[in-house]
């Protein structure tokens, strides 16, 4: 049976770079996938592109490509990535330029475009899923609308001979599904194969999160070598069989436990994991350790895909102002609480207009709120944190100022004040009829 080995070289845009180099060098992989596009990243990248038409792709694109292109070219490893963000064609041009500078000008680089569906969303005035509004009602706060594309255009680009495929918004598992569809000729209506392939993509997409990252809990779940964590490799058979492993000698571990945690990561109903290519069903998946750092994952299935694509809509939501200051030693907690009360009163007295406010004591109740944290013991030091939502940057600035003035006007011995004010680009979702997204492949260079 034919098998391919797919390496996962990044689980988010800022991820470590050496593990991907290690995969290319020692992983015996056929494909290297970089998942680098967070929920709102496209919206921020779109803002950058409006200022400079040649920008709008991942800021680490150049560093990552320079690090892996020579090895991938010499070993014939194909790269698939969503580092195109809001501008896959510019990312592809940049990658071609880097390849040329490395003496690799024969590499064929393809961009997948067409995830930008802003015009189609505006024409249909689609409803926002998360709150009571529509595309039209967002008005000039609307920044971007990008459909989660499926694996097919990426698989087509590989079929057409691409060595590097750069997409914008696509479903994360689809980045991994594309090489499987290309290598094995899976039909786009073989729902069970696409479902099991989605299991593989879902497990691999967060890179280190299946090799022991985001997992260690000393005394309960011990993981060695987190500072040199190895990234995962999926060995996928043409029948969809999957073994998850990593480079021998790298840090971390692939165990049944790490695979189970990642299987359910960001999953709601495990029987209906909605993807552009398939509705995947994880409910009968089994996980079995078959050797050191080798886990077999079986039993993924699927049913017919839906008629719509999820579209991530970026919009200017509000402004957030924030201030922090620390107290320590005997009485730290009571001084911290007093500080919060002072700021609460000051924001009222001075009429700062907020739609939402939050008063935290970091070290006490900031993460889970006062009810969950009610029985915690008193800490040596606390950090006061006040944050609020406003309609303008000017108002947001005033929140941090009221924390900073605690230096000379608040409780004794407050230190390390810090403040910030920023605009908030948030994302919401709409569902777009599938036929309205028209992905295309554009080759550059080569």
């Amino acid at each position: 049976m034919r098998t391919i080995r797919i390496g996962s070289g990044a689980g988010y845009s800022g991820d470590r770079i050496e593990p991907a180099v290690e995969l290319a060098e020692k992983g015996g992989i056929d494909y290297l996938v970089f998942e680098c596009l967070g929920e709102r990243t496209v919206a921020l990248a779109q803002q950058a592109r409006m200022k400079n038409p040649e920008s709008g792709y991942d800021p680490l694109l150049e560093e990552r490509m320079r690090a892996v292109l020579p090895l991938c070219a010499s070993k014939g490893i194909k790269i698939v990535t969503n580092m195109g963000a809001a501008n896959p064609e510019a990312a592809a041009r940049k990658t071609a330029e880097i390849a040329k500078s490395l003496g690799l000008s024969s590499l064929r680089i393809a961009a997948v475009v067409g995830d930008d569906v802003l015009d189609a969303c505006k024409a249909g005035d689609l409803s926002i899923m998360e709150f009571d509004s529509s595309i039209k009602q967002l008005g000039n706060r609307l920044l971007s609308a990008n459909a989660y594309l499926g694996a097919e255009p990426m698989a087509d680009a590989l079929k057409a001979g691409a060595d590097v495929v750069i997409t914008g918004r696509a479903s994360d598992p689809a980045l991994f599904l594309a090489p499987m569809i290309h290598a094995f000729g899976w039909r786009m209506d073989d729902w069970n194969l696409l479902g099991q392939g989605t299991v593989a993509g879902h497990l691999l997409e967060c890179a280190g999160q299946i090799t022991g990252g985001y997992f260690a809990d000393p005394g309960y779940k011990d993981i060695a070598g987190l500072a040199r964590l190895g990234f995962p490799i999926g060995e996928v058979g043409e029948d969809g069989s999957l073994v998850v492993t990593k480079v021998a000698g790298s840090g971390g571990a692939v165990t049944a436990q790490t695979c189970k945690e990642q299987l359910l990561y960001e999953v709601h109903d495990p029987a209906r994991y909605l993807q552009p290519d398939v509705v995947a069903d994880f409910s009968d998946v089994t996980v079995e350790e078959i050797g050191p750092d080798r886990v077999r994952v079986s039993g993924g299935r699927g049913t017919q895909r839906t008629d719509t694509l999820k579209v991530s809509v970026g919009y200017v939501d509000s402004y957030i102002g924030e201030g922090q200051i620390s107290y320590a030693g005997p009485g730290a907690l009571t001084r911290g609480r007093l500080a919060l009360e002072i700021v609460r009163e000051r924001l009222k007295l001075t009429g700062v207009a907020t739609s939402e406010l939050r008063f935290d004591l970091i070290g006490v109740d900031a993460l889970h709120g006062p009810e969950v944290s009610a029985h915690a013991s008193e800490p040596y030091e606390v950090r006061v944190r006040v944050t609020g939502r406003t309609d303008s940057l000017r108002e947001a600035v005033r929140i941090g100022n009221e924390v900073e003035t605690l230096y000379t006007n608040g409780p004794a011995a407050g230190g390390g004040a810090w403040k910030s004010a920023r605009d908030v680009v948030a994302v919401a979702s709409v569902l777009l009829p599938r036929a309205l997204a028209k992905p295309q492949i554009r080759f550059v260079g080569g």
Binding site: Q257, H268, D284, P370
Partner: protein
């Protein structure tokens, strides 16, 4: 004993919804999870955090439960005022849940 003694957990986020897996270290403890880690208990445990509903999904083949908690992430990860906007630290709080066990069992 604490849930932490028999299960591990990971939090994920999507919009304003958090999901938390609870996975038995030893499949023999799965019935304890099913019996005692109910949606109602999870919702009560996260008082002041979960504003929406808690739905539980059972995955017997991997001895795991998956809890989906709506209205949990301050209006959504990308706009939340919270320090931990993703709610990534919630799994640790859930492992603090008290489990009534027959005293013969120890942590694996």
């Amino acid at each position: 004993m604490k849930l932490r003694e028999i299960a591990h957990s990971r939090t994920g986020d999507k919009g304003n919804t958090s999901n938390i897996s609870v996975i038995a270290y030893d499949a023999r403890h799965y019935p304890l999870l099913v019996a005692q880690v109910t949606s109602d208990r999870v919702k009560a445990h996260f008082a002041g955090v979960v504003e929406g509903d808690v739905t539980r999904y059972e995955l017997p083949k991997i001895a795991a439960l998956n809890f989906v908690m709506t209205g949990t992430l301050g209006g959504g990860v990308t706009r939340s005022l919270a320090l931990d906007a993703h709610g990534k630290s919630l799994s640790s709080a859930l492992l603090d849940l008290e489990i009534d066990d027959d005293p013969g069992h120890n942590r694996p």
